[in-house]
Each structure stands twice: as C-alpha cells, then as structure tokens.
C-alpha cells in the first residue's frame, strides 16, 4: 500500500473551478501554512492513537487560526463562506492532513449555538470546542428510534437548577473521548413525535452517564451507547428553546448537510491516486481479468468523485447565495455514502487476497466503508426523501 505523505498537485482534483480558484489568497495562505504544519504521517490504524493525533492536529490548526474556518472571527474563526470552506477541505486533502478531533463540536454544535444559543452557552463552550480542550459528541439516535428520530424516548425534567436526564442513546461517535454530549431529549412528557423536545448539553464525566463503546465490524469502537441514569446538566445548558428541540435539531442537520467535511470529494480523489499506484503495482496479485475489471471500476469511481466535487461546489455556491441546501442534502448524502462504500471496496480489491488480511489498512478501510450508507441517515431514508419531497411521489 502507498502510505507516502506529500503535498499533491491540486490538478489531481480535476479542472480548477473559477469560483474557487487555485490562486485564491485564502487557498494560497492555507496551502503555505499546511506545507509548514501538516504532520506528514498518515493517521494510525489504532483508534486511540488516531484520536490523539486528531486532537493534537486540531490544536495545531487552532494555534494557526485554522481550526474553525467557517466560524466568525470574533469567536476565533475566519468567517469563511461556503466557497472558502470548499477550498479549505480540498487543501486539507491535498496535504493529506488528519481530521480534527472535535468535528461534532466544530461543524454541528458550535454553529447551532451561534444561531440559537444563549450568550452564556456561547461564552462557555465555543472557545473549548475550537481548541479541542473539551470534546463533544452527539446523542440523537436511540435503540428504537434509528431512522425514526421523532419516536425518541430519552427524557429530561427540570429539578430546580438542573436537568435530570434518563434514557439511552446509541451510535454516538467517539463518545468515549468526549467531555460533553449534546442530547436530544423529550422534556414535555405528554408530547408526541416532533413536539416537546429539547437539546441539552450534558457533561459526560459524572456518575449518571455511562459510555459503552460498541465495536464495529472493522474492529474500531467508533460508536458508543450512552446511558443516562439520572444524569444532571445545568438548567442553562438547553440549546435553543425549551420544548423546541426539533427546530434546534433541524438547524443542526442543516449544518451537517451543508458541511463538505462529511462528504469530502477531495480526500477520495487523493485516495484514488494511492489506489491507482497500488493497481499499477498489482501485477503479482491480480490476474489480467481481475486487473482489467479493477481498472474499469477505478475509472467509474473517478467519474463519481468528480460528480461529487460538483455536488459539493453546488452546495457551496448555493450556500454563498444564501440558499438552503434543501433536498440537495439527501442527494449528496446518498451519493457520497455509496461512493464511500465502493471506494473502500476498490481500495481492498487492488491488493487481491492480501487486501483481505486482518489488521491491514485496506481491509480496515473495506469494513469501515460499509458505514457510509448507514450513518447520518441510511441510504433508504435518503431515497424516501428524494422520492417524496423532490420528485413528489405519494407517501
């Protein structure tokens, strides 16, 4: 496998896009900074070590002023619009930089706080999110409300100056490293479906919270169950209106759908370069037919990566014009998830049987890649949304 780390030519991402030009000062500045600061080694396979690298890398980004490009300057960001973010992620990928540790905080909770959070919460949390001093995780899904979020049952009640939370969340990414969990709770016990919920920020390090990591088929404990058993959070830690949590969650999802970090075409195109190199070196492990079939798949996936690039650009341009991403989010999510899965399969296939050896990067990638069509809304849910809301087919 190719693991060399170097700054790649941006031409591997495809034709330059005039709205996000290669010679843009923002891009040039970040590129220079990355050349001097990116770690230059790949993320380790071991998840604990991976987390530590990401935390260190976020600290480096923070120190350089690059941790939250989309955040306003007064809270430590750069006020970068969607097109600058498009460039930002492309440059990170070209530099083969790690991810940031606190993505749920930077991309989801932080922006949501800025829209509907109290001044107290903003002051309390925004700096720590950006610096990775405190790590955040997202508690939305429950065992019996996976795709059907409105049926959630975790409940919270005010007890004097504190919320008391009882219930169980699942599929919480990297909860074992988190200091806080933002939890969607039912706060009006008589409510049903979309009504009567509140988004609460709950400290994880307390007796009422138990985190049980769930190991995935890839071997990573990437997700966790989080049990709330009389867990306590200050009354002021409600994000947005009390009993208005569904609206708050929808705002948060808008940020998720518009963030290109989740659907990053440029990391895929960089990965494809490595896969192409592996394929060139595969003569001793692939038969002529397997090789021919693999190169056709490679070409096909390259086409889809280029299309994803356009989808992300479209999201950025529309965001720049103040338009909501709307149904486009489901299109990009569905498209990305299947591409993520297929690219992972390709990355293994080029190694022939050796791509299936345990504990190697290609096999880890292969297994982890199956999550793309399940996390953040299954492909099935996305297809429902596209068919019913975009195409207007009857329910």
């Amino acid at each position: 496998m190719t693991t060399s780390i170097s700054t790649l030519s941006s031409s591997i991402l495809g034709p330059e896009i005039s709205l996000a030009p290669e010679n843009h000062p923002f891009r040039q500045e970040f590129r220079s900074w990355l050349a001097a600061n990116a770690p230059g080694v790949p993320e380790p396979l071991d998840q604990d070590k991976r987390f530590e690298m990401r935390r260190a890398w976020q600290r480096t980004l923070f120190d350089g002023g690059w941790a939250g490009p989309a955040w306003p300057e007064d809270v430590g960001g750069r006020g970068a619009g969607p097109l600058h973010q498009f460039m930002y992620y492309e440059e990170l990928a070209l530099a083969r930089a790690p991810y940031a540790a606190n993505t749920p905080g930077i991309a989801l909770l932080g922006p949501t706080l800025m829209v509907v959070g109290s001044d107290e919460l903003k002051a309390r949390f925004l700096p720590a999110i950006l610096s990775a001093e405190e790590i955040f995780c997202q508690g939305f899904s429950e065992p019996n409300s996976g795709s059907d979020l409105a049926s959630l049952r975790t409940r919270a009640r005010l007890d004097g100056e504190e919320w008391v939370i009882d219930g169980q969340k699942i599929w919480t990414t990297w909860a074992q490293y988190a200091d806080f969990c933002f939890v969607l709770c039912r706060t009006d016990p008589s409510s049903e479906r979309h009504r009567g919920m509140t988004l609460l920020v709950c400290p994880v390090d307390q007796p009422g919270v138990t985190v049980r990591p769930i190991t995935q088929i890839s071997g990573d404990p990437e997700f966790a169950e989080v049990f709330f058993d009389g867990a306590r959070a200050p009354a002021s830690y409600a994000v947005g209106g009390v009993d208005d949590g569904w609206s708050t969650a929808m705002i948060l999802f808008q940020f998720e759908r518009a963030d290109q970090g989740f659907t990053d075409h440029s990391r895929m195109l960089v990965e494809l370069q490595d896969i192409a190199a592996d394929l060139r070196a595969s003569a001793n492990v692939l038969s002529a037919q397997a090789s021919a079939s693999t190169r056709r798949t490679l070409a096909d996936i390259w086409i889809r990566c280029q299309q994803l690039r356009r989808f992300n650009l479209r999201t950025a341009v529309r965001g720049e014009a103040g338009e909501s991403i709307g149904m486009g989010g489901s299109i990009v999510n569905l498209f990305w998830g299947e591409l993520e899965r297929d690219i992972a399969e390709l990355a293994s296939t080029v190694h022939g049987p050796r791509g299936l050896l345990a504990g190697t990067e290609p096999s880890h990638r292969l297994l982890a890649g199956r999550g793309g069509t399940i996390h953040s809304g299954t492909s099935e849910i996305q297809r429902n949304i596209i068919a019913e809301r975009l195409l207007g087919l009857p329910r």
């Binding site: 896009i17 060139r280 056709r296 390259w302 975009l390």
Partner: protein
C-alpha cells in the same frame, strides 16, 4: 465566471427561450411526423434556429458566433434532448462547425462556417469509427494528393444526417499517415450512401462510402489530429448534454405516470420499491448533468488539459444514465411503456442509439483509466 452549478440570469434566459421555442415547434406528434420523413427535419425551423443564433452560440464573435461558450450550447442541447429534436444541430452546428472553427485554417474554413452559421448550408462530420464508436477506425478514409487537388476513397462509417447535409467535412488519412480535414460536396460523384438507419428513427444516419471523390483541403496540417480530438471531445460533451435532457424528460414522464396510474386501490407511485428506483435514477441523472457542465466549464475556462477526461466522464455517465433512466421508465410504465405509440419508447431508442456515438461508456472509461495512468 464559468461555473454552472448555478446558472446566471442570461443562462436562465437562454434555457427558457429554448424550452419555449422547442416545445412550440416540436410537440411529440410533430416529432413523430418528422421522424417518418426521410430527412427528419424541416427547413423552416432550421432557419429559425439559425436566426435565433443557436448555430454559432459556442463560437467566438470574430468567427461569426454569438460569443457564448460550450456551457450555453449544452443548455440548448439539453432542451433539444427533452423534445427529441431530430434536426441537424449536432451534425452541422456542433461537429462540422467546430471542426471548421478549430481545425480548419481561417482562409479555408471561414466562408463555409459562415454559411453553416446562417443556416444556408448544412454540413456533417465524417470521421469513420470515431464518430460511431466502431473499432476499425484507423484510416478508414484515405486522401490522395494530385497536384493541388485531393481525392478521397474509403469508408466513412455511419454518419449523422448524411442524406441531408450539403457538405461533408471529412477527417481522412494522408499518404504520410497524418490526418487531414477536407470539405466535400455531398453531390460529388463517387459518394455512395448506404442504409444505416438506427432504431432511433428521430435522428437520421447513413453509411458513407468514398470512391475517388474530389475534396478541398481545409487544414494546414499543423496539429489537425489534436484539434480534431478536441472537436470530438466537444461533440461528446454536446451529445452528453442532449442525453441528460432526454433522461430528465424520461424521469418526468415516469413520475407523472406513477402519480396517475392506479392499481390495487391507489397510485402506483406510493409503492416504495418504485420510489427508490426513481430516486436512484434521479440522483444518477443529476450527477450526470453536473458531469456535463463540469466538462463544459473546463472547455470554456480553457482548462484544456482536463477536457479529455472530463468529456469522457460526461459522455459515459450521461450515456449510461440515459439508458438506465429510459429502460427503467419502460419497465415502470408496464405494458403501455412497451408500445410504439407511447413516447417513452422513442427516448429509449434515442438513448440506445446514442450510446456508441462519439465513444461508448466502456471506451470512455478506458480513456479515463489510461488518463489515470493505470
């Protein structure tokens, strides 16, 4: 600004005018009448199209064009694809005009180009296997020089609108093995047209054979092969745009049918299995459209290094997407979709017939693999 992830007002206007004009002139019943004629189109609307400035939309003003780009031409082609327009736009205004503008010398090409752009002359490109994706394309037409004159002989392959074009622009192999570009009068002696109608009756094709046909050379020999490769890439992008338009229409027709057709006590569009298939198709066509405009953007912003792969990506995704969308549309229409009288079948045949034209999906993927150095 040359990205089209969001159209500018002028582009919106071009699209809107095109849709209005084409819907008015080419409702389905008119398309069916025209496809049953030998020519497949009517002179009157061709003249209108020239007068609208569409024939030269992607060429610079100094060459008599409208000074827009390939992007704007793709907008027109999408709309033409929606109505299954069968006239000589792809042959004359795209392939032949681009060849004259980009591969001929100004001295040799300008007069003919002007006649194409004003609609008074229709031309088509003869490029042997290149144009219709056959394998045995190398040097199918040979050009022999005799003094100032050239004579062409050999098989030109399946050619768009060969029966109605007045001028054939022919890519031929010179005696020294290089490529040359020639203009031939379609009434010249020695030209034979063979039956080559495809299952898509809305677009006319024929086999062209040359037997010692007098021809006028158009290029100066400098980089004709490279220039013509670019012309064919622009042609592939244009055809891909047309295919995306047709595919979108197929989706629209299917969605409408699923909302209207009732079985088992309600519209069949409520069945989730059908919904999910349509969602997948809608996403594939949305992606294919982005691929087309990504390639068009690359042309218009002069990113020429990226054009060959972007054009290959555009054509293969649009070709596969159009075939998928129309095949599924027939299936989802049930028995009625399988009848000659339902329009969806015309789209399916157009999709299939377009697949080999200007390179099949398989062959374009191969180009991409080569381009990615594997």
């Amino acid at each position: 600004m040359t990205t089209t992830v969001k159209l500018n007002p002028e582009q919106e206007e071009i699209r809107s005018v095109a849709r209005g004009f084409l819907n008015a002139r080419f409702p389905a019943e008119r398309v069916r009448e025209l496809m049953r004629t030998g020519t497949g189109f009517e002179e009157s609307s061709w003249k209108e199209i020239a007068d609208l400035g569409w024939t030269g939309i992607a060429l610079p003003e100094e060459r008599g064009g409208a000074g827009y780009g390939v992007v704007e031409r793709c907008l027109l082609l999408e709309e033409m694809g929606r109505v299954l327009y069968g006239g000589p736009y792809l042959s004359s205004a795209v392939l032949a005009a681009d060849a004259l503008a980009l591969a001929a010398t100004e001295a040799d090409g300008t007069e003919l180009l002007e006649a194409i752009l004003d609609g008074s002359t229709r031309a088509t490109l003869v490029a042997a296997g290149d144009l219709l994706g056959e394998a045995d394309q190398a040097g199918a037409v040979r050009a022999a020089q005799a003094g100032e004159e050239y004579r062409l002989s050999g098989s030109g392959g399946l050619t768009l609108d060969a029966e109605t074009a007045q001028i054939l622009i022919v890519l031929a192999e010179l005696e020294d093995g290089r490529s040359g570009l020639f203009a031939v009068d379609s009434s010249a002696p020695g030209i034979a047209l063979g039956h080559g109608a495809m299952i898509d009756e809305t677009r006319k094709t024929a086999f062209v054979e040359f037997d010692d046909v007098p021809a006028r050379r158009l290029d100066d020999g400098a980089d004709t092969a490279a220039a013509m490769a670019h012309v064919l890439d622009r042609g592939a992008i244009a055809l891909a745009a047309e295919m995306v338009g047709g595919a979108q229409k197929a989706i629209d027709m299917t969605v409408a049918y699923l909302k209207e057709r009732e079985q088992f006590g309600g519209p069949i569009g409520r069945f989730q299995a059908l919904k999910h298939r349509l969602a997948d198709i809608a996403v594939a066509i949305d992606a294919a459209r982005e691929g087309v405009y990504s390639a068009a953007d690359a042309v218009d912003s002069g990113e020429l290094d990226h054009v060959p792969l972007a054009a290959a990506a555009a054509k293969s995704a649009a070709g596969d997407g159009y075939c998928l969308a129309t095949a599924e549309a027939i299936q989802l229409h049930g028995g009625i979709g399988f009848t000659e009288e339902h329009d969806i079948g015309l789209y399916y045949k157009r999709a299939l017939s377009g697949q080999p034209m200007l390179g099949s999906s398989v062959d374009h993927r191969e180009r991409i693999a080569v381009g990615l150095d594997v």
